[in-house]
């Protein structure tokens, strides 16, 4: 039982109200004390030794007690039987004297009847056992006229009476008639004498004359006398004696109240055999025995049909041995207690070092290793344990030192990895991008490396006012080498992109750079796309990367197209492009194989089917929800199987083409002819003028456009007469943006060498490349790309915003 602190507290505060709890508290103390004691091995050892010895002693004692008890009983039977026989003999002797007296008197009286009274009186005086003597004659003419009866009175004097004169004639009485028939003399049944007020029993001896029975000599003894005889017998203490007549009634008993009662049936059965016998009565008849079991030893009294009985209470028989056993047990118990104490002391002394070792072990658990160990006394188990403990401590100290060193090293590595992770994260642009200018597309990217750093990458940035570059890549291998290669790739990509201007160029240039000194043969698969943020036109090129997925409002499908070799392997690889025009609401999803090759616990791959299915089912079409939903689905699929590869998802959601307020100033398609070109130039000029563009910028624009378009008309037709030029002009916040598309032969104005300028154009016959030189000088930015649809030129002219003088962004010059 345990007492909680709160209960104990309440006991203290309200002990007067709740005295019961005090006992509980006390019991708790006792239980705890016992538990404390039993926590020591020495205590438990001595306790169990004690308990075991006591058990053994108790069992052995019980068996011995049982065996010895039987012997004691046998012995007691022998002794008691002998005692009973002896006592029976003694009574028999006394009764025989009475019978002898009667026989003698009978023969005397038979031969000489005169003076009978004196003879009787004399006999009575000499034999104190007799209570009375009578000579009763059969009434006849030649018989004695009187039948004298002499009895001993209470005061000792002798009384005399003539039986003839009694009112009831004795010759009709049973005792007289029975006595006459009893020719050898016999003991009669006891009777109660009215005159003498006592129980008597008489012996009748016939008086014979001439072969005829003429009367009886009747010798009375009182039962009191018999009782006195019994009392006088030497008996063991607690035992008692009795005499039973042939009818089963007690003639005499040490307990006078029993006289006259009949014996128990068990007793009577034994009595019937009329021999020396013993019988056990479960419940003694004698009330003095207290209802306990008694052994009765019966001995027949010869000359009579009576039996003498000696009753011994059973408890009395065993009393001695029981007492002896109790003593032995007490002694044994004392000895065992002493043994337990000795065991306790020895065990304590032997195990004392163990206790010290136990507390030292707690030191070790706390990390303290400098402490005293108990001295080794004997090379026993405790000694060996102490040695082993000492060795363990030394080894442990060494081990801990090594571990600490390793842990520090690990920590350093972990912190380096952590920093590397931060740096790598910093290389990636933010997760979410919403085109702030026109809000016509939205991008959401998620990258989750399998380790602290990984080889997946994504990047996106505006190439210029209009074109947006996005890429997703996956470096072969994982971990730090991949991360370094990824850093190299992403940095190079960003540096090369403005120069490359088209995905295929960017991939080719990247490939060349990455092939350089790539002894480790690492490579990166990369999918690069450039989006026209005005129109939603997307040009993609892939270097061995997974095909992107295009999600419509209700379907998702792969955009399959030919891919080039992964970057870093083949420096002559080339990269085909695929152009796509995104429709409002469509989302393009780029990802790495971490998605499709994610495996669950059963080693099944997530696969392309599941990915398409998941994207199709996605309730929301927003970039963030698609990307996050896909990642969540992958997580559900792997179900904690562990991420084996880096995972990247990038979703690009096309909202709508340029809104009205950002509508192009001019969007036209013309035939590649001089007239139309100049017509277009006029319209451009007019549009710019209408939008408040300064004349200086307008002239620059005009010059550049004229040079470029005239060039296209004059040199780009490639023999065909129906070439077209597309011109899109858009006014940005601080710049005029122009796109020129021409379906003629490839011509990259950026690749034209700078003309030799001597300071006088007239020096040379015809200086080439003047126009392109002017273009490059006039346009703030110029980019060129070429694909299967022809040449694409993008131009940007900064212009001071005169209409919004307080605008945040100042144009740069």
């Amino acid at each position: 039982m345990d007492v909680t602190p709160s209960a104990a507290q309440s006991t203290n505060s309200r002990s007067a109200d709740l005295p019961k709890l005090d006992y509980a508290w006390l019991n708790g103390r006792v239980d705890r004390g016992l538990a404390m004691v039993l926590r020591s091995i020495a205590s438990r050892l001595s306790l169990w030794v004690l308990v075991g010895s006591v058990a053994v002693l108790a069992i052995a004692g019980s068996v011995l007690f049982y065996r010895v008890g039987e012997q004691i009983l046998e012995q007691a039977h022998g002794e008691a039987t002998a005692l009973a026989n002896e006592a029976g003999n003694r009574i028999e002797q006394r009764l025989a004297r009475v019978a002898d007296t009667a026989q003698t008197l009978a023969s005397v009286v038979g031969s000489r009847p005169e003076g009978i009274e004196a003879i009787l009186r004399d006999a009575l005086e000499r034999n104190a056992d007799l209570s009375g003597l009578a000579a009763a004659f059969v009434p006849a003419k030649d018989n004695a006229p009187t039948s004298p009866f002499i009895n001993r009175q209470d005061d000792g004097s002798l009384g005399w009476r003539d039986l003839r004169k009694d009112d009831n004639p004795y010759w009709d009485k049973n005792w007289f008639l029975t006595g006459l028939r009893c020719t050898q003399g016999c003991w009669q049944r006891h009777f109660y004498s009215q005159s003498r007020k006592r129980e008597l029993v008489n012996y009748s001896a016939p008086i014979q004359r001439d072969g005829h029975t003429i009367g009886l000599i009747n010798a009375d003894v009182s039962l009191d006398w018999l009782g006195r005889v019994l009392k006088a017998l030497i008996k063991p203490a607690g035992a008692y004696a009795f005499v039973l007549d042939d009818g089963g009634a007690y003639l005499a008993h040490d307990n006078p109240s029993m006289v006259g009662q009949r014996g128990q049936p068990d007793l009577l059965q034994a009595l019937a055999r009329h021999e020396a016998v013993r019988v056990r009565l479960a419940v003694a008849q004698n009330p003095q025995a207290g209802g306990k079991a008694v052994w009765i030893y019966l001995a027949p009294i010869e000359g009579t049909r009576w039996s003498f009985g000696l009753a011994m209470p059973e408890a009395m028989i065993y009393a001695g041995v029981r007492q002896a056993f109790v003593r032995v047990l007490l002694l044994g118990l004392l000895a065992l207690l002493a043994l337990a104490a000795v065991t306790l002391a020895v065990a304590r002394r032997t195990l004392a070092p163990l206790g010290t070792l136990a507390s030292r072990a707690e030191y070790v658990a706390r990390g303290a290793l400098n402490f005293e160990l108990p001295a080794v006394r004997y090379p026993d188990e405790v000694g060996r344990l102490t040695h082993a403990f000492d060795r363990m401590r030394t080894e442990l100290a060494l081990h801990i030192e090594t571990l600490t060193r390793n842990a520090k090293e690990q920590q350093r590595l972990a912190s380096e990895l952590d920093i590397a992770h931060q740096i790598q994260t910093a290389l990636l642009p933010g997760q979410h991008y919403l085109d702030a200018h026109c809000e016509n597309f939205e991008l959401h990217a998620l990258l989750r490396p399998a380790r602290a750093v990984g080889g997946d990458l994504y990047s996106y940035f505006m190439l210029n006012q209009r074109r947006f570059c996005v890429m997703v890549g996956d470096v072969s291998d994982k971990g730090i080498p991949a991360a370094l290669f990824m850093a190299r790739t992403i940095t190079l990509a960003k540096a090369l992109a403005p120069k490359a201007q088209s995905p295929q160029n960017l991939l080719s240039m990247l490939n060349l750079e990455l092939c350089r000194n790539n002894d480790s043969c690492m490579f990166v698969s990369l999918l690069c796309g450039m989006l026209d943020t005005f129109t939603g036109e997307l040009v993609m090129a892939s270097a061995g990367h997974e095909p992107p997925v295009l999600c419509d409002t209700d379907a998702a499908r792969f955009i399959e197209f030919e891919t080039g070799a992964a970057l870093g392997l083949d420096d002559e690889a080339h990269y085909p492009t695929r152009t796509l025009r995104l429709q409002p609401g469509q989302t393009l999803l780029l990802y790495t194989d971490g998605i499709t090759e994610a495996t669950d616990r059963a080693e099944r791959m997530f696969g392309a089917e599941r990915m398409l299915d998941c994207l199709q089912r996605s309730p929301s079409r927003s970039a963030a929800d698609l990307a996050a939903g896909l990642l969540a689905e992958v997580d559900r699929f792997t179900d904690g199987a562990g991420q084996a590869d880096d995972i990247t998802v990038l979703a690009l959601n096309w909202h709508h083409a340029l809104a009205n307020r950002n509508a192009p100033m001019l969007d036209m398609s013309i035939k590649a002819s001089m007239d139309e070109v100049f017509d277009a130039l006029e319209r451009c000029d007019a549009a710019l003028c209408a939008h408040g563009v300064t004349p200086a910028v307008r002239e620059d624009v005009r010059l550049v456009l004229e040079e470029l378009m005239v060039n296209m008309v004059q040199h780009g037709h490639a023999g065909s007469t129906d070439r077209t030029i597309d011109l899109h002009m858009h006014l940005g916040e601080d710049a005029v943006l122009i796109e020129l598309h021409h379906d003629g032969q490839p011509f990259d104005p950026l690749q034209i060498p700078m003309p030799t300028l001597t300071g006088d154009l007239a020096d040379a016959e015809d200086v080439g490349g003047l126009g392109i030189h002017l273009v490059r000088a006039m346009a703030s930015e110029l980019s060129y790309s070429h694909d299967d649809q022809g040449n694409h030129l993008q131009l940007r002219f900064l212009h001071p915003v005169s209409t919004e003088p307080d605008h945040d962004v100042q144009p740069e010059h």
Partner: protein, 131 residues
């Protein structure tokens, strides 16, 4: 009308041409054709003054036309001087370093001073041409 050419103060030694509008890929042909008429009228060593105060715009095609004129006059020991360049035109000229700086004049007065000076040198030394 995007381009116009006027001839002023014509003499065998010196002809002044006033250009108006834009000289570009569309108009340089007309200009070239007109100049085919004008140039033969200049005497050996004569000076052609192109007054560009009315020329708003010039492109590489126009530059080439002007370069042609200058080569032609130079071949005949003459000069081509440019007068009153408008900002756009000046910018284009600067970018391609089209003409030596000393052949460009900001005003008519400057040009006259230069021509007087040339006159004196020619008279004094009897040596035509040179710069």
């Amino acid at each position: 009308m995007t381009f116009n050419l006027n001839t002023e103060g014509e003499s065998p030694n010196r002809i002044t041409l006033r250009l108006h509008g834009r000289l570009d890929a569309q108009t340089f042909n007309d200009f070239d054709l007109a100049m085919l008429d004008v140039l033969p009228r200049i005497a050996e060593g004569g000076t052609v003054v192109l007054d560009l105060s009315g020329l708003d715009y010039i492109s590489s095609a126009g530059l080439r036309s002007i370069a042609k004129i200058r080569r032609s006059t130079r071949a005949r020991g003459g000069h081509t001087l440019l007068l009153n360049l408008q900002p756009q035109v000046r910018k284009v000229f600067d970018i391609v370093k089209a003409v030596p700086v000393n052949e460009v004049f900001a005003s008519l007065q400057e040009l006259d001073d230069y021509l007087d000076h040339m006159q004196r040198r020619m008279t004094g030394q009897g040596l035509p041409g040179g710069s």
